[in-house]
Structure formats: C-alpha cells, structure tokens
Symmetry: C2
Subunit: 191 residues, 2 copies
C-alpha cells in the first residue's frame, strides 16, 4: 500500500476515534491527512470506500499489536490465544484509538445499512482468526465448537471494550473478566 | 411518574433509536412528544437530565419485558435467569427500539464524558439483577463469582445485541451463543 494511502487511512481512524463516524467529512479528513480531497476520492472513490478500507486498516493494525511475539508465549498455543484477545484491552494510544474507531463503526452500522456488509466481513475475518487459535489450543475440539467460542469471545471483547472506553469498568477488571471467559471456553489445563 | 413525563421519555427513546443520541435536540423531542420545549425543561432541567432519565426508563422497560412471567418458568430459577437474558434478544419493535437506544447511549458515552456516571450506574443495576438470579440458580456459588458471571453475561449480551442490530449475525444465532454462555457460567444441570 502506498504511504499516502496508508496516511489517509491512519488519519480516518484518528478522526473517527475523536469525533465518530458521523463526524467524518472528506474535507476534514483531507485537512487531517494533509492531502487534497481529490486525492482521497482518487484512492477511495467515495465515503463508503473510505469506511470500507478503514475497517480493513483497523483490523490489520489490531492483528499487528495482538500478535507481537512475546518470547514467553512462542510455541504455546494457549498463551498465543490469550494474548491475541487480551492485547485488545491495553491502555496505549494506538489500541485506544483503534478500539474506539472499531466500536464506533459497529455502533454506526446500526443506523447506516451501507456499512453492514463490510463490517460483517471484517467480523468474520476476526472470528476466523480466533477460531484458528482455539483449534491450535484445543486440537481435540470440533471446528463448529471453536467457531462458536470465537464468536462469543470476540463479542464479549467488544462488549467489555466499550464498557471500558465508556467508563463503566476499569481496564484491569475487563481483562480479568475476559481471561476467565477464555479459560471457560477451553478444556481444563493439563488434560 | 406522570403520563406526560413518561410520554417524553418514550419519545426520547424513539428519537435516540432512530437517529442516535447526537441527533437528539430538545426542540425535536418536543415535536416528537407533542409537548412544548418549556415543559421538557421543566421536567428534566437540561439535556443531561433527559439522557439520565431516558437511561432509567430504558432499564425499567427492559425489566418489564424480560420478567413477564412465562408459566413454564415460574419457580425455576435457572429458567428465570435464561429468560431475563434471552428476552433482550427478540425481534419486536419494543425490544429493538430499547436495545438500539441502549447501545447508542453506550457508544455515545465513549465520546461524551457527561453520560458516563449515569451509564455506569445503570450498568451496575443491571449486573446486580442478573447476579441475584445467578445466586438463585446456583445457591452454592459465591457472590463475587456470580457478580463476575453477571458482568460477563451482560457484556456478552451487549456485544451480541449490537452485532445483531448491525447486521453481522442473525438473531437466532445470537440467542444460541448466549444460551450456551449461560450454561457455561452455571454448574452442570442436576448437580
């Protein structure tokens, strides 16, 4: 992806996390990204195109910060699974911005049918990745059981993330609730 | 509560579920409720007051439709617990409107610190009610364990509800995922 394109998507994520999807106007995004509106239209065609690619950008960025290899977890599928989920709950500017923008795109799709198909696709991609890690951590389980667990864990994570971001629970408590849910979805350790 | 007051809160829930919290203006709410803006200010002081009482109104309405006595569940605490959670996932105009408005208030609190304290209070009330039902369904468990389970189940329900409303999963599938989570939080049946 060209640097200019990435810079526009990074700016779109920032704007959405600051003022919401409904606050995203192309003129404003152009100012934020330091490019012309014409260049934005050239790369993304229209507002729907910007939102679609921003969803992908957010997903790829989350992939990166949830799979940064912690040497302690290398080769331990259970630890890799926990990390992939728990690293979505971190108080760093990048994670906060990414989670705020994702939650806002989710909430906006309730009102904006145009967003729904892309959001459903991005959700499937995420569920699929977590189901894969569940399969590695619990190889005797079935694929549909892992898929259901992955849907529950990611939906719970979305619910906990917006509770944290909206000030209803502290971050460490959200992490603890999620860690317990991960344990409950897996067979007991050492079996 | 006076009929006029209730009518204003009902109208506020409708407006929020149709156009979002950010679309709620007092003048528009007055038109929707068929009252004067002055009467709204008289009852609720300001916009923050309207939102605070709308949160309560939504909670009380959900209480009503999740505790309608199904003769089959009377006296069965496990069934009452399942019902209290699963009846939040119903495709009726009332539940859809209530869930949309609640999800929107949750999402808006990420951007609007003024909403947070009231939302956290309403969340605690809900968690507390579910923890009570868990205590009835699982009397040998501990209160903190029930409180954690209640937080997980309600956060999962919020996550599933917005996935349903945003078109990422069908309603029946959301219900199935939630029903399995309820089972996982309780000791095995017949123990």
């Amino acid at each position: 992806m060209s640097d200019r394109r990435t810079e526009i998507l990074r700016a779109a994520t920032r704007v959405i996390s600051r003022r919401g999807v409904r606050g995203l106007r192309v003129a404003e995004l152009a100012t934020e990204a330091g490019v012309s509106a014409a260049l934005i239209y050239y790369h993304f065609t229209d507002r729907a195109g910007i939102l679609r690619e921003t969803l992908e950008f957010i997903g790829e960025r989350a992939d990166r910060y949830t799979t940064e290899q912690d040497p302690a977890t290398a080769g331990d599928p259970r630890a890799e699974l926990s990390q992939a989920l728990l690293l979505e709950l971190q108080d760093t500017p990048e994670v906060r911005e990414n989670s705020t923008a994702w939650g806002e795109l989710r909430a906006s799709a309730v009102f904006d049918p145009e967003l729904r198909e892309d959001l459903a696709r991005a959700t499937h991609t995420w569920v699929h990745e977590i189901a894969y890690l569940l399969g590695q951590a619990d190889p005797t389980g079935t694929a549909p059981a892992h898929a259901s667990s992955a849907e529950r864990l990611t939906a719970l994570l979305e619910g906990l993330s917006v509770r944290w971001l909206s000030g209803s629970i502290p971050l460490e408590h959200a992490r603890m609730l999620l860690a317990e849910a991960i344990e409950a979805e897996l067979p007991p350790r050492g079996r």
